[in-house]
Symmetry: C2
Subunit: 389 residues, 2 copies
């Protein structure tokens, strides 16, 4: 497979008190069209990942809003799979192109989360777990991820210091990302001594509640060839692999909670389609809503043997300048996590890196990048692989 990325955009992530869901979505859409130098009439279909709008603002049908903003009559729909929604919208856009349903698609991710209290949004988000068997019993995502962390720490030799080094690294990366929610460094001691959320996870092990949107414009290879004749200086990035896996909605139904089968399945499919091995990947943007997620995901993607990603992180292997820079955008932890937008924002970062236009956070000679989006605790996972054109 070979899908061209012709445009990419991302709004500032953060607390946008003065902007509505529509404002954020419009900003991302228009900026992506501008970046691609394409017209609304070129867009054949729109796929928008979003999660909370119905529950936060009473607004469903966000896919229709995405078309409405552009005064477009093209096909448009909302895609939801909790925090993987943006990645799923990307996968749906690819399917539309490869099926012939469209030649050019617009993929959006958007979320406006700060219009309700943190307590309310936590209650809303746990709807991505099992309402009857987890939410109703009092579980929240921080609580479920704390269980995962404890189980992992009991099974492998992950130290508190190693775990905290995920957040420290991602905050350091975000200091070079002007779009990041938090652009300041934190220390291991900050993480460990921050207010406890769900033992052993403190506030600084958890991604923030953010507002934001991101968009991509994708096309078939045929369209991209014609396009390149008109836009000779455009750096095209290609998507060469996609994969998706699922696992039980409840953690209680898993054989193990120290690895996520859905990530392993999604990665395996994506590597196969892209015809590459994991060691050919130069940059990774992965789901680090909780610090433990980054550790487990690095292992599930095949980058480290089980139980060893913590040490590697502590040693700087995944830091800017290390062998495999991970979440150079700042990740969900520091760039921010407007849930529906995150998967598309990961793709935006990867595209900017592969275009060589990532400014101060540019990873040298990046040729192949991987994005990983996860909904729930390893329940829905989608992986994409990008290559410099």
């Amino acid at each position: 497979m070979k899908i061209a990325v012709l445009g990419a955009s991302c709004t500032q992530f953060g607390e946008h008190w003065d902007k509505s869901l529509r404002d954020l979505l419009a900003a991302a859409e228009l900026q992506a069209l501008h970046d691609a130098n394409l017209n609304v009439k070129d867009i054949g279909a729109i796929y928008t990942g979003t999660v909370c709008a119905g529950m936060v603002a009473g607004q469903m049908h966000v896919g229709a809003m995405a078309a409405d903003i552009l005064h477009s009559n093209c096909a448009s729909m909302t895609i939801e799979g909790a925090c993987a929604s943006g990645g799923l919208a990307l996968r749906s856009g690819i399917a539309a192109l490869e099926s012939g349903q469209a030649e050019v698609v617009l993929v959006n991710g958007v979320e406006k989360m700060t219009d309700v209290s943190s307590a309310d949004i936590t209650q809303i988000l746990v709807g991505a777990a099992d309402e009857e068997f987890e939410h109703f019993m009092g579980a929240t995502f921080p609580g479920l991820n704390a269980l995962i962390t404890r189980s992992y720490m009991n099974t492998f030799e992950l130290t508190r210091h190693q775990l905290a080094s995920v957040s420290v690294k991602n905050h350091k990366h975000a200091t070079q990302n002007p779009l990041a929610h938090f652009q300041r460094e934190i220390t291991i001691s900050d993480v460990i001594n921050a207010p406890m959320v769900a033992d052993p996870l403190t506030m600084l092990d958890c991604a923030p509640i953010s507002d934001g949107a991101a968009s991509l414009i994708l096309s078939t290879e045929d369209f991209a060839q014609h396009y390149c004749r008109r836009h000779r200086d455009k750096k095209i990035v290609y998507i060469i692999g996609t994969g998706q896996g699922s696992d039980s909605l409840t953690l209680a139904c898993r054989e193990k909670i120290t690895e996520f089968k859905a990530t392993q399945i999604a990665a395996c499919q994506a590597y196969k389609l892209a015809n590459i091995e994991h060691d050919q990947i130069n940059i990774v943007e992965l789901h680090d809503a909780f610090s433990i997620n980054e550790i487990i995901t690095l292992e599930d993607l095949g980058f480290f043997p089980q139980g060893q990603a913590g040490l590697a992180t502590e040693q700087g292997v995944t830091s800017m300048g290390g062998r495999l820079p991970v979440n150079v955008s700042g990740g969900l932890k520091a760039k921010g996590h407007p849930v529906g937008a995150s998967g598309v924002a990961q793709a935006y970062e990867t595209v900017m890196q592969l275009r060589g236009l990532a400014g101060k956070r540019q990873v040298k000679d990046a040729q192949i990048g991987l994005t990983h989006s996860m909904g729930g605790c390893g329940t829905t996972v989608v992986v994409h692989i990008f290559q410099k054109g």
Copy 2:
């Protein structure tokens, strides 16, 4: 295009006080697998249309639940586009097959609406309109559809009797459908004298609030050929056309509200792909959440000139035994309208008709059927065309 329908199922529609969202979804999924005589392992991806679960039950991530029920690790996502969600899930399943992302897909539609009051569900559903410009100003879907009705009555010669004949016809059809929410006849006088909801629409011009689920199993043509060798007595139905259009989220932004551009666009695309004219269609299942919707849709699909569908309905042209039987299932009005499920249930009815297995409501010699799903007031529309194999 040629996509095979190997399995189809639909639960009883109605008020399922004793069944959860999961129960309904599980029943539809398992029945579809049974109907197709396929195994869970054959399913490569799942697409589930649903709308209200987050707001009614606090359960998002219903796509993940759909995979979880089957203990499947395959790709699964939720598709939302208000009342068109089921139709959009079907369109997404087709894209997955045609793109090569899967060889066999499961498409679901599900909704559990009766766990909250009618007033609450009306408030939830208006989230499919524009929250800021319609909902916030006090509009509801009955109110918006009443505006459409008045505008249509002022423009064309639609009588109250003609409008009421939509509901009377659909209720009569539903008497032959054991899965229908309402299986009893009503009269023109019943409709006109029912409690007023939004003038001129009475309660019997409006579809009910229902619970229910429906599923389809689709495959590529290649898979279907192998499948047919193993299942020689299976009656295969093919999907030969799909189309989708969008229009503004708010009614106020339309040039006209007496016709829906999104339906015209979706139908045009579907007819073109199927390489047929509208007069080759034998049966139609269309969106009749409000009686006026059926009138306008019949015209937008090309079956009648503008302003004439009311008279045709009154004359029985669209009744069982007429030239073009419409909503022989009972339609959303009488079969019921669990919003996310409706689009898939329309496909179920069409498949059963084209298999010749629709029992007492069988339309004789039906060869080609059309389904039409609409989200919002003509905002998101998806059309599919089915052909007997």
